[in-house]
Amino acid sequence: MFTSPLPWYIAGPLIGLMVPILLIIGNKSFGISSSLRHICASCFPANISFFKYDWKKEIWNLFFVAGIILGGFIAAMYMSNPNPIEISESMQKTFAQYGITDFSGLVPNQIFNWNELLTFKGLSMMILGGFLVGFGTRYAGGCTSGHSIMGLSTLQWPSLIATICFMIGGFISAWFIVPFILN
């Protein structure tokens, strides 16, 4: 039980509870992508007006993401699932076409590793992909947590539009771009 994966109907509500917990313990709106902006503002503001604000007031967000890293570490060290992730047969076939046959990690070790970093696959998936995540979330004003969970929970229609666009982008990427890069 301790090491088996959580079902969606437990994980989802627990994530939803992050919204009231952060509000009640300190009036904080749930969101994660802002941490990337605070890192820019604190480390390399470069006189860019977008990074000239009192980031120290938002430092709670950096404490929060530090916790996420630690949580990932604790779960991987002490609670990790000994079995490979369960994947449907049709998805296994798709992954095999991508050259992925090792399902042991949370990210496919055959692509996301240091040796692949500077190959076409690695550059596209890790570096271009990461860049799009950072650029896109800030341009959109939030990510899955800020828009899709916090924004939708507070019934904000701009967040609904953002969420729909996240999904459309994801569909395009998973059906066309990822297969193009990995095939």
Partner: protein
Amino acid sequence: MISHNNEMRKNDSICTNESQIDHKWYHNLKYTFVGILFGIIFVKAEIISWFRIQEMFRLESFFMYGVIGSAVMIGAISVFLIKKFDIKTIYGEKIIFHPKTFNKGQIIGGLMFGIGWAMTGACPGPLFAQIGTGATVIIITLFSAILGTWVYGLLRDKLPH
């Protein structure tokens, strides 16, 4: 500086700290604790799995839709209850909700983020958690995401909003 801050907040939602109270730094440790729980859920529910994200976008699995859908449901009920009963923070402050304004960024930036999400298999939260699980190469993805945010800041005035 203050008016500049307010302006920044208006035209770009940052996950803002609405509290007016100044605390000693160690008060922030409670967010680290919440973050730890969040990180554990991420890993234990395999939400930070690249495979789960591919399944979601290929419509092969209900799992991620169930996670996000039920999270929004519980979030929305909680917000409703906070508003209805005027629930205060543990410091007795009124809880403030920040309305988001629409701009074209939510469409263009949203599409860009979606594309990156399916490539990396991670939104910003899972990136941090993946690093924690020992996928050290994801540090590079995170740096690239920080660079992306920085370049957005640099080009911000030239982009359609």
